[in-house]
Amino acid sequence: MYAMASPPFDRIVGLGRDPIESARQLVHGGHRLLGLVCPNLPEELPHALGLVPFRVVVRPTPPTRSPEVLQTFCCSWVQALLDQAMRGELAHLDAITFSGNTCDSLQNLPDIWRRTVERPAQLHTLRLPVVNQGELALDLLRAEIRQWQGWLERLAGSALDRSRLRASVLLFNRIRAALRQLQRMAIEGRLPYSLVQAAAISAQTHERAEIADLLDAAVEVARPWSAGRARDEESKARVVLAGGCLDDLRLIEWIEQHDAAVVGDDGCALSRSFEPEADLDPQDPLEEMARRHMRRSRCPVQSQSAVTRAAALSQKIQRGEAQGVVLLPYKGCEPHAFDNVILAETLDQLGVPHVTLEIEPHLGNWGQITTRLEAFLEMLSDDGELYGDTEVS
């Protein structure tokens, strides 16, 4: 259907499918990696200090070690993250930065980490405001970014060079612009959305200069492909996804293999990582990092996020001409569980069908997820038959 077997796409999908392995290779190649536990942390700053920002991705395996220290009611993503760290699978990272002031499951994690994980041992927490408006929040961000800068400089062993920071800002602007272009093509039915997902994951985990080139090349390869949704795409059920990090490619690929298309998302580490359109101004990058955070779509951990997310979601539905929404909260994630109630209510008011599938990062309940998803997609598709074949020959 798509000429996907070209080199940039192969490489992007490979990196997106196993970011931890690609991170290991980076370390082997002499890079120093800084783990970021949230896509909301400004990546440009560590990058300018010579570190590769690696937004921590959890492996799709059920936790075996973290249940020793975390109760079952802890967020499944946090359980998976600590498990991976306890098993030594993040030992290749030089250090980790957590986003603080977020959710109750993450709150005590750095302190638990210090007692249960050998490497990485250097941890920092950057606190983000829960009320994302006004000068007050901006001042908190400025102070927190300054503090982080000091910690990063000690970690990197060098002072921040403004010209390098400007170069990093331009590089990240370029990456985000390319991601937005790929996403536009996917919404128009010219690319599978799973490619956007793979690109977004690799753009948060791999060496950025290579990623920028790969994404630009991918855009160039895809550009000549016919604009507008292809005829065979018209009959597909079109859905928008909303949820947490959504780091496992299997889910979107499964949807695409079942005669349906993803035409937008509200995932923490997916489109919310490269939106909004406005990029950073390289003239005053530190100030701009704080301001960009304020411009970003609200994160579910923030106060009053659900109504603004619901409005953004309805725009995405319109833009992608979606017929339904799949809500994908992680098991045990309170902020998403709360937001989902208002999202679902808004979708009901708009008359948009939706389904909520509580997932674990390792997609442990895969059979149940796909059964329910299949039924939902069948219901959405143009020629869907809800009640089975009753013709008797």
Binding site: R115, V131, D139, V341
Partner: protein, 419 residues
């Protein structure tokens, strides 16, 4: 609620001897809390303004402006003790709220969706909502939903969690928000703020907390004059109306009784005190005396707990000139807003100071900030103090998560080891 609980606690079962020494102060407490709920129910009808607050929000501000405070968490405890929370939680679940969410939140939302099933038909409709995330991140979302359903303005006081030392910019951040709360309250209630009135209320609040601290501290005595179940009940005024004359009066009465008990050598339980324990986390409200009796029956008491010690911050003399900063500091620094190192230090100090033999951690599935980390706390606290610890799995008001067979056998085994 208090009348019912008091009856439940003092009634011996199967002809056994009573376990608890009745606390005389529960009389004035019952009167005070009855009046409190009567006032909150009547407030909208008589033109008084009311605010819903989280338990860690600075009540001194609205109180000084004549705004009647109401507490969904305190109300949740009341519903839990009356054993109606499950029904209210289910009402919220029917509206799409996950059963994994905090049960105080579900209880509260359920009382809005199904007031006929709620004690007192729920709390009075508020004019404003004031939330502070110093107790958990859940309130950030829970109160967003209250604002959404009730269509009432919300003030969110953001006091970021800190693992170690609190950097000055975080106090500045909280101070400026406290300052911003004043025009917010004035705008939405029409009540005027007066610095003089606020200073008076803050002074009374500090005095109340001093008396409360004294009562807690007096439990270092052997035998302990109060058990955790006593403190869980008598904490209600310090949570809800600290800063009021009535609360101040009540804690003077309570302190007198506690001192008297010590002078007479009377303990909280009517058994010989054999084992002294620390309780960590919120009470298991629907079995507060049942569980306590399992310990008390073998002479085990809880002279101290981390929960009722949460309301012990005092605005000091210097801060009276800048009350917003004082409020910001006190409310930023509460127990749950600090990391595990700080909590361990506090618990270790409690174990030594109160001369304890062990500790019990309530792994409360509704309170993640309190509960996540307890496994490492248990290990480290035992290493530091040489005292054993027990983890009990339950929920503060949703009794569906309470194994009433497993918990008693765990308690029995633990006490056997200790004694």
């Amino acid at each position: 609620m208090l009348a019912r609980l008091t009856r439940r606690r003092s009634a011996p079962s199967d002809g056994e001897q009573p376990l608890y020494r009745p606390l005389g102060s529960t009389g004035p407490l019952k009167t005070l809390m009855k009046r409190y709920y009567l006032v909150t129910k009547a407030a909208p009808r008589v033109g008084l303004k009311t605010a819903w607050l989280t338990s860690g929000a600075p009540v001194e501000l609205p109180l000084s402006m004549g705004i009647i405070p109401q507490y969904p968490e305190n109300y949740g405890a009341l519903c839990g003790a009356r054993r109606v929370s499950v029904e209210l939680c289910q009402a919220a679940e029917a509206r799409g709220y996950s059963p994994d969410l905090c049960s105080y939140a579900r209880n509260d939302l359920g009382s809005i969706f199904a007031p006929d099933r709620a004690p007192l038909k729920g709390l009075s409709r508020p004019d404003v909502l004031i939330a502070c995330n110093n107790i958990c991140g859940t309130v950030t979302k829970w109160w967003e939903h209250l604002a959404y359903h009730l269509k009432v303005p919300l003030f969110m006081l953001d006091t970021p969690f800190t693992e170690g030392e609190r950097p000055p910019h975080l106090i500045d951040y909280a101070t400026r928000q406290v300052e911003a709360m004043i025009p917010f309250l004035e705008r939405h209630t029409g009540r005027r703020f007066s610095r003089r009135r606020f200073a008076r209320v803050a002074e009374r609040s500090s005095e109340t907390i001093r008396l409360w601290n004294d009562c807690l501290d007096l439990c270092t005595a052997h035998p302990s004059p109060l058990n955790s179940a006593d403190r869980f009940l008598v904490m209600a005024p310090v949570v809800t109306i600290r800063g009021s004359r009535s609360a101040l009066g009540f804690y003077r009465t309570l302190k007198r009784e506690v001192v008297q008990r010590i002078e007479r050598g009377e303990g909280a339980i009517l058994r010989e005190e054999r084992t002294r324990l620390l309780w960590d986390n919120i009470a298991i409200w629907y079995d507060i005396f049942g569980l306590s009796a399992r310990f008390a029956g073998t002479g085990a008491v809880f002279p101290v707990d981390t929960y009722t010690s949460a309301w012990t911050g005092i605005i000091d003399g210097r801060e009276k000139r800048d009350p917003a900063r004082g409020v910001a500091r006190v409310y930023s620094d509460i127990y749950l807003n600090r990391g595990i190192d700080s909590r361990l230090q506090i618990m270790e100090r409690m174990i030594r100071r109160f001369d304890l033999d062990g500790f019990v951690l309530h792994s409360n599935r509704s309170c993640k900030p309190y509960s996540l980390g307890q496994q490492v706390i248990r290990r480290e606290l035992s290493q530091r103090t040489g005292k054993p610890g027990l983890v009990i799995e339950a929920d503060m008001v949703d009794s569906r998560h309470y194994d009433s067979r497993r918990v008693p056998s765990q308690v029995a085994a633990f006490l056997e080891v200790l004694q």
